[in-house]
């Protein structure tokens, strides 16, 4: 054995850093570790493939024999359906479940959560750091996916430049990207919460998916308890929800955006409260 370290209470990092700087460095360290162990390995391949699947669908459409290159409205309709039905309601929800729902739950199953709990980081801060990691992973992933699918959807049509720069095109793209970012933030906080409370976050997540998918049938009061209600109101192209849909006034962006952000903050705070009181007893799992 080498006689290298003299055991003693060392000068702690806090002794040299301001509390905020110290907390920020701890958050960065957790995010770096989370990215390294959960999102830069083979485990993340399935998530990436799923997130990029709307792009694949947009590419497949290019080979459709009846694609009318001169009708740009067709591209608008196609992308609206692709984004609102498939990307937003299915792919983004499932991917956020995989990313955020596993942040606490996977550590319990892998029996590794105690390594974090044995470091001098406040557990609330740990939860925030894990949530931010999920946002940092999911937002670029879905922004790229949305951007690529949008580009490919409009690519074969004549007059794309005019639609983008002299028409509503860039506005549409901006709205879709805003919805994408808000959806990652909103669904991320929901699934982080489920991962903190439930042994299998997939079960409540399925319930949420069911709730979100029938939201057009809900009375106006209940619609307000659905994330998709706010996200859909921000989408630039209204989508027909069929003859049985119960119509209600779309909330204004000034309510939807801060409302979703506040709701997400509240859900992350509940997760943090839950983790603060959590015991590590893997045997019960």
């Amino acid at each position: 054995m080498n006689d290298i370290v003299t055991p003693s209470v060392s000068v702690t990092p806090t002794a040299r850093q301001l509390p905020w700087a110290h907390m920020a460095s701890q958050i960065r360290a957790v995010m770096r570790l989370e990215l390294r162990k959960s999102f830069l390995g083979r485990r993340s391949i399935g998530t990436i493939v799923l997130a990029l699947s709307p792009v694949v669908i947009a590419v497949i459409r290019l080979f459709h024999p009846n694609l009318a290159a001169n009708e740009i409205e067709e591209a608008t309709g196609f992308f609206s359906l692709l984004f609102q039905i498939y990307a937003l309601r299915l792919v983004l929800v499932l991917t956020c479940l995989a990313i955020f729902g596993d942040m606490i739950r996977r550590e319990v199953l892998d029996r590794t959560l105690h390594y974090y709990f044995l470091t001098p980081i406040r557990r609330e801060l740990l939860v925030v750091a894990k949530y931010l990691t999920g946002v940092v992973v999911s937002v670029p992933l879905f922004v790229v996916s949305t951007l690529a699918a949008f580009t490919i959807a409009y690519m074969p049509h004549e007059g794309v430049q005019g639609f983008l720069f002299n028409g509503p095109g860039l506005g549409h793209l901006g709205s879709y990207l805003l919805v994408t970012v808000l959806a990652c933030i909103g669904y991320g906080s929901v699934f982080l919460l489920f991962g903190s409370f439930f042994r299998s976050p997939a079960i409540p997540a399925l319930a949420v998916m069911g709730w979100e998918s029938i939201h057009f049938l809900l009375p106006p009061l209940l619609k307000k308890f659905s994330v998709i209600h706010y996200l859909q109101s921000l989408c630039p192209v209204p989508m027909s929800e069929g003859p049985f849909a119960i119509l209600s006034d779309a909330p204004s962006p000034w309510l939807s955006i801060p409302g979703l952000l506040l709701l997400s903050g509240a859900l992350v705070a509940i997760s943090a409260w839950r983790i603060r009181g959590m015991e590590v007893s893997y045997e019960e799992e």
Partner: protein
């Protein structure tokens, strides 16, 4: 520094898992040095360690570690390093990354974290394997990298749950030497094991735990002395005239039994006062010229104490 600030203090600590008892009414003060936590599997050792490290919360009572409590992890976990019995590691990391990453979570900068990580790895002799993924390590290497992770931030309290499991004899000797070195530097080292002679070898004091209750605590000699009335101490004296020695010691009240060994070259004595007996033995040697080869207490180790207190099979019938 007050006594509380230099000890791990348990005040009437109980932990129940629903109806199931984990530990009950534990009141202890653990001073610096190596403290062995001894008991059979399921006796409550790991529960007590997890309570100490804040991974579990006591149902009743309180614990403070050198004055710090788990409610304030930013203070407590600078003082505490814990190598748990869980044989699991974050996926995809090398031994070095594993230690360095968590040092960064402590708040150390990159250069300092790397420096501390290498020092800890050198200390457990894993430098050659530091660049390999932990998933590919042997059981012994995994035990050592866990130990390195627990000592990397230079804690004042080191908690080790069955740390010698899976180590080969050479690594065992090295790790025990490391424990001694750390304790010699003023650390509190709390070690659990269900292998009694192992704890006996390394501990300055022991805590015997059974069925969730602490049944004895202190240095093992002191615990044994307190049991002399019910369980007289046994001493084997290898000498040239065991019968003569037997005739001389039998005259004294504190000697309850003296039996010549089967091979005729030793005497097994049971006495209620070991100190008096050793004085008597000296006197006999001076008076008779008895040639004594060895004097060996046969039941002064933790194994015997445990057996007397709980039973050979851990109290199970």
């Amino acid at each position: 520094m007050s006594a509380v600030e230099n000890q791990i203090v348990y005040e009437n600590v109980s932990k129940f898992y629903g109806e199931v008892l984990g530990v009950n009414r534990v009141t202890l003060s653990v001073p610096p040095g190596i403290t062995g936590l001894v008991g059979p599997n399921g006796s409550g050792k790991t529960t007590l360690m997890n309570l100490t490290a804040g991974l579990l919360h006591p149902t009743r009572g309180s614990i403070s570690v050198l004055g710090a409590t788990p409610e304030h992890p930013e203070d407590m976990f600078r003082l505490v390093g814990y190598a748990t019995q869980y044989d699991a590691f974050p996926p995809g990391l090398t031994g070095f990354q594993f230690i360095e990453s968590f040092l960064r979570v402590h708040g150390y900068g990159r250069v300092e974290a790397e420096e501390l990580a290498w020092k800890a790895i050198e200390r457990v002799n894993l430098v050659d394997a530091a660049g390999r993924k932990v998933a590919g390590y042997s059981k012994g290497m995994r035990q050592r990298i866990k130990l390195a992770q627990a000592i990397a931030h230079r804690p004042s309290v080191l908690i080790l749950d069955e740390p010698l499991n899976g180590l080969d004899p050479m690594a065992r000797a090295e790790v025990i030497a490391l424990f001694r070195e750390l304790a010699g530097g003023g650390l509190h080292v709390l070690v659990s094991s269900h292998i009694l002679h192992e704890v006996d070898l390394i501990s300055d004091q022991v805590v015997l735990i059974h069925g969730g209750y602490v049944v004895a605590e202190g240095d093992i000699g002191g615990v044994r002395d307190e049991m002399e009335e019910q369980h007289p101490a046994q001493v084997l004296i290898r000498c040239d005239k065991p019968s003569l020695l037997a005739s001389r010691v039998f005259l004294h009240d504190h000697v309850v039994e003296a039996r010549v060994h089967d091979d005729g070259k030793g005497l097994l004595v049971r006495t209620r006062d070991a100190d008096q007996f050793y004085l008597l033995l000296n006197q006999v040697v001076v008076d008779t010229g008895l040639v004594v080869e060895t004097v060996m207490p046969t039941d002064a180790d933790v194994n015997a104490v445990y057996e007397y207190l709980i039973g050979a099979n851990g109290g199970k019938s």
